[in-house]
């Protein structure tokens, strides 16, 4: 960024520690009056070197590390890692395990969206909604906790299956919580839609068009809010998503309001998918029979090869490129997180907006610095 400031211009650092940020990043702004004329984003404050760590851990230890990429999406990070290893080894989880994975990943998506909506609302000063969203999210976290034994970093998936089966009566409990959530979401959406200040701050603000969004490489809800029907669950189906009936939630306007609407719709869609998955789920073993894979996989060597596997994270397309050289640790793991391109698209997005809208726009993208830095 050019730091020579002209008349009536000033430079401002937003971060690395700021109340509106989901994690530390430094946003340098050049302001002319109240408008942003130039912006630059600096990352790396919580770079953990996860790709290098994974090269030095065995495959089973690696699952635990992938939780820590982003704790909100621990389930889909596990899925992308385990999916890569399963494709290299050539095993497929039994159908029951696949349905359990779908249910848990959709629950994880619901809680991630609820926290995203809540955080976004506080950044707008809409604290009532934050408390509502956190209250609903805690119910969903309880459901995840019941099966996995922890609220966020679950380490639940295993190669070829899942760690635990559902406990007795889990379906009834889940569906009662989710049906409740469905009703409350309608109320919350009405609160959003009828709040005059909220509408003034979101409608027509931070607009991405279809062409710009695809050029910037954005994925997930910010992309779907512009009308692009891109969802890995539909385009490149994995697990049993092919057998489920669901639609890709899109909006046309591409502004903050549309992004929030897409997230609300996706929560409803996830509830619908979980309901179907419970109905269709067969009985059976959790791990493929006749293989050594189980809850406690011994030291395993993975045949040489390479694979690129992608799943739909709550925030967009999550991919992993894994190379194995036949030893018990991966040769190379590249994590293609959905937040990395989203964060990259932030500076162009906030150009020529008001400084007061920067917080709202940044929060509506639902970034996670931990994942972008890895």
């Amino acid at each position: 960024m050019d730091t020579n400031i002209g008349p009536s211009e000033m430079l401002m650092h937003l971060g690395p520690q700021h109340a509106i940020q989901p994690g530390p990043y430094l946003l340098d702004l050049r302001l002319k009056g109240e408008s942003v004329v130039d912006a630059e984003l600096k990352m790396g404050y919580i770079h953990k070197g996860i790709e290098k760590i994974l090269e030095n851990k065995t495959y089973l230890q690696g699952i635990t590390i992938t939780d820590r990429i982003c704790y909100l999406a621990a389930m889909s990070n596990n899925e992308v890692f385990c999916g890569c290893v399963e494709r290299l080894v050539g095993i497929e989880p039994p159908e029951r395990s696949q349905y359990i994975r779908v249910i848990m990943e959709e629950l994880s998506r619901i809680q991630s969206h609820l926290l995203g909506l809540g955080e976004f609302s506080t950044d707008l000063g809409f604290v009532t909604m934050f408390l509502y969203m956190i209250r609903e999210r805690e119910e969903v976290l309880n459901l995840i906790d019941t099966v996995t034994g922890s609220r966020i970093t679950q380490t639940y998936l295993r190669f070829g299956g899942v760690r635990e089966d559902f406990p007795e009566g889990y379906e009834q409990k889940t569906m009662s919580v989710l049906n409740d959530l469905n009703k409350k979401l309608d109320q919350h959406e009405e609160l959003y839609n009828t709040d005059r200040i909220y509408r003034q701050r979101t409608v027509g603000v931070g607009t991405l068009t279809k062409e710009v969004a695809t050029e910037l490489g954005v994925a997930g809800p910010p992309l779907r809010a512009t009308g692009v029907k891109f969802d890995v669950r539909k385009d490149d189906p994995y697990l049993v998503y092919n057998d489920l009936d669901f639609k890709v939630c899109t909006q046309k306007n591409g502004d903050i309001f549309a992004r929030i609407k897409v997230r609300l719709d996706e929560v409803r869609e996830s509830i619908y998918m979980i309901e179907q998955a419970f109905d269709q789920m067969p009985q059976g073993p959790l791990f493929p029979e006749g293989t050594p894979y189980g809850r406690r996989t011994p030291v395993m060597r993975v045949p040489p090869g390479e694979v690129f596997y992608r799943v739909e994270d709550p925030r967009g397309e999550m991919g992993m490129y894994m190379i194995s050289d036949g030893s018990d640790t991966p040769y190379r793991v590249k994590i293609r997180g959905p937040v990395f391109p989203t964060m990259q698209a932030l500076p162009p997005l906030i150009l020529n907006t008001y400084i007061a809208d920067v917080a709202a726009i940044a929060a509506s993208m639902d970034g996670c610095t931990s994942e972008a830095d890895r």
């Binding site: 990352m43 790396g44 770079h47 070197g49 790709e51 290098k52 695809t214 050029e215 910037l216 490489g217 692009v228 891109f230 385009d235 490149d236 690129f308 992608r310 397309e317 991919g319 490129y321 190379i323 040769y331 190379r332 590249k334 293609r336 990395f340 391109p341 990259q344 698209a345 830095d373 890895r374």
Partner: protein, 159 residues
């Protein structure tokens, strides 16, 4: 209908001498090695003519046994589900390649990351500087296989 077959035949027709070891894994997956001087034009051709408008990922891989670095591009599309893996081999002691930022805008950060972690120099990159690492670690290339970590930063002395 654009699938892996169609893309491969289009690429081999346009760039007959630049592709090698092409492999179709399924209808949706294609892997190929590309000569390093041709990668910019191959990417441009894919964006303009084959609807591959989404750079999913770009990363480096280190092969000290072969004394080579590889740059791997995963190019997908918002229109069709094909994922194309393009690989470029670079000599390990002088890794230099044309930047594709002017084709895919979001390659910018991927290339900065690959540069600081592997030491791959991108020609014509608009702003090639470290992204995630502190400035003092520039030149250590920490994701190369011979990086021993703190405090023995050996690969700095090799390059």
């Amino acid at each position: 209908m654009i699938d892996a077959d169609y893309i491969l035949s289009s690429l081999t027709k346009t760039f007959p001498n630049d592709l090698s070891e092409s492999k179709i894994e399924s209808d949706m997956r294609l892997t190929s090695y590309v000569e390093k001087d041709a990668i910019f034009n191959v990417c441009k051709h894919m964006l303009d003519n084959l609807e591959c408008n989404h750079l999913s990922c770009e990363c480096g891989v280190d092969y000290p046994d072969r004394n080579e670095l590889e740059v791997v591009y995963h190019i997908a599309s918002y229109e069709h589900p094909v994922v194309i893996t393009l690989k470029v081999k670079l000599p390990r002691d002088d890794p230099e390649i044309e930047s594709i930022v002017s084709v895919y805008w979001n390659a910018n950060w991927y290339e900065r990351e690959t540069y600081e972690l592997y030491g791959i120099m991108y020609k014509n990159h608009p702003d090639l500087k470290p992204l995630l690492l502190i400035d003092e670690m520039l030149g250590d290339w920490p994701l190369r296989k011979d990086y021993e970590g703190f405090p023995n930063k050996t690969s700095k002395n090799l390059v």
